[in-house]
């Protein structure tokens, strides 16, 4: 019986033969929040894509829900960073959110009453219900981000891989994301989130500070010590 939801051992990640981050070691349990922090190009998105099965590990091992990453699409949901091509799509916000059920529906299954209930709940939980009938291209960047978050929630997954979910959101939006993550964790969902913002790490079980290598990993008070932040960003947190 596997109790860990993600298990990485001596994991090296990157593109092709080019290693971005080497020797990553971590494990997560149901309900855990892992926050990946680092500058652009530090390896946050590469790690998320590896966990989502979009990139193959260069070396080492990684299991997601006891299997190879990418083999459980119904149980793992991924929010890409800035899905900008969607801006030209002639789709209502509701249709974009409904796409979250495609992993469960496959090619041929018809949308059930339960699928529609999940869609409605996700729209309400993210506040996207207010603009559900509007075309996606007419929405502000914050509203679009809420739409994509609602889409991730419709997956009803056991692991959420979120690449900068608070990008483009105002203070209320950021609070909404924090609340959503807290509620998902309460029902046993593991959340791995990449962010630039240190405050997003407040409630994390594990913080991983990345700078094309693992600078630090551990609870927030350990991983975000001044010496590590200085090493990673060149500055420290204001006290």
């Amino acid at each position: 019986m596997h109790t860990e939801t993600i298990l990485a051992s001596r994991l090296s990640i990157g593109f092709g033969k080019h290693t971005v981050v080497a020797n990553i070691e971590f494990m997560t349990s149901p309900g855990a929040l892992v926050v990946l922090i680092g500058t652009n190009g530090s390896g946050k998105s590469t790690l998320l894509k590896t966990l989502a099965g979009m990139l193959k590990p260069i070396s080492g091992s990684v299991t997601v829900l006891g299997g190879v990453p990418g083999k459980s699409p119904r149980r793992v949901a991924y929010l890409p960073q800035h899905p900008i091509s969607s801006h030209t799509l002639p789709l209502r916000a509701r249709d974009v959110v409904a796409m979250g059920r495609f992993a469960n529906l496959g090619l041929f299954n018809r949308e059930s009453v339960e699928d529609r209930r999940i869609l409605q709940t996700s729209l309400e939980r993210t506040g996207a219900i207010e603009f559900a009938e509007k075309p996606l291209r007419d929405l502000s960047s914050g509203q679009q981000q809420r739409t994509h978050l609602a889409q991730v929630l419709t997956r009803q997954a056991e692991i959420l891989l979120l690449d900068e979910p608070t990008a483009g959101l105002d203070i209320n939006g950021r609070k909404l994301v924090a609340d959503l993550i807290a509620k998902e964790r309460a029902r046993g969902v593991t959340v791995v989130m990449a962010t630039h913002e240190l405050q997003d790490a407040e409630n994390a079980n594990t913080v991983m500070l990345l700078a094309q290598r693992v600078v630090s990993i551990g609870p927030p008070d350990v991983a975000l010590r001044d010496e590590y932040l200085r090493e990673c960003f060149g500055f420290t947190q204001p006290h």
Binding site: A52, G70, P83, L89, R92, M99
Partner: protein, 277 residues
């Protein structure tokens, strides 16, 4: 004339389905490369006395396989690979056609179509192509839609992106092959892109985008043939020009609507200021 209109309608609907995904996924350049790249295949088929459709299929296969090979093996961007294959195949086509004195007339037909010379066998081919493209459009609508937003989204939803990308390319290739007799290899791109682009302006759903594109394509085919008949102009060019003109009118109409909406939004504020003073 009746056969030409029927062929135009079949081409319009086939191009509307494939063109919707060409526009959403930003594959106009691929469509362009396919439409030009089939030229040597058709020319070689004519030399060997084989059906032009078979030659076009071989040409499309070489383009798609070549683009895949160059992008994967030599790590070049897809637009560079498409550009290389596109000019290479076009140059080969021109060399083949310039080698025979019989070709200038045929070349015109290949490049610009011959709507008024469409035969019932061409119609049968187009009907089959429409059926296949329609089935692919229905079968793959979910992965195609996800890929239009983000490849990662499609992959993490359990769909094989490489397979569905190839399927989409095959669908575009089939559309080009089936349509070249009616609108020509150069002008088929207009029917792929213009009606679907007009659909984007007005549609709120993919299905309505396809419907709008189909209707515009059919209207363009009918009007284009009428214009060609009355003014003695090239039929295929007239059809495509009508389709592009409808897009231009649609774009202007949406601009006017947008500026009216903006003015409407500003008016209440102006009233508020007037009351304040």
């Amino acid at each position: 004339m009746r056969l030409a209109l029927l062929a135009g309608i079949l081409v319009a609907i086939t191009c509307a389905i494939a063109g919707t995904f060409v526009v959403l996924r930003g594959l106009a350049f691929v469509g362009d490369a396919l439409s030009h790249g089939v030229l040597p295949g058709i020319a070689a088929a004519l030399i060997f006395g084989v059906s032009g459709i078979i030659g076009a299929a071989v040409g499309a296969g070489v383009i798609m396989g070549g683009v895949n090979l160059v992008t994967r093996r030599y790590k070049l961007s897809s637009d560079t690979a498409i550009g290389l294959l596109f000019v290479g195949m076009l140059a080969l086509g021109v060399l083949i056609t310039s080698s025979s004195p019989k070709f200038p007339e045929d070349l015109d037909h290949i490049l610009f179509g011959e709507s008024l010379a469409v035969k019932s066998t061409d119609l049968a081919w187009q009907g089959i192509a429409l059926l296949v493209v329609g089935v692919i459009g229905v079968f793959a609508r979910r992965p195609f839609l996800l890929m239009s937003v983000d490849d990662g989204l499609a992959q993490t939803s359990g769909f094989n992106v490489t397979f569905f990308q190839n399927l989409m390319m095959a669908m575009i290739g089939l559309t080009v092959i089936a349509s070249f007799q009616t609108v020509g290899t150069l002008l088929v791109l207009g029917m792929l892109v213009a009606p679907a682009a007009t659909g984007v302006l007005f549609a709120r759903r993919i299905s309505s985008m396809m419907l709008i594109a189909s209707v515009i394509g059919c209207v363009a085919s009918y009007s284009g043939l009428l214009i060609s008949f009355h003014f003695e102009l090239a039929a295929s060019a007239s059809i495509v020009l009508v389709a592009v003109s409808i897009f231009a009118v649609g774009a202007i109409a949406t601009e006017i609507k947008r500026s009216r909406n903006l003015r409407h939004d500003e008016l209440p504020h102006q009233h508020e200021h007037a009351h304040a003073h």
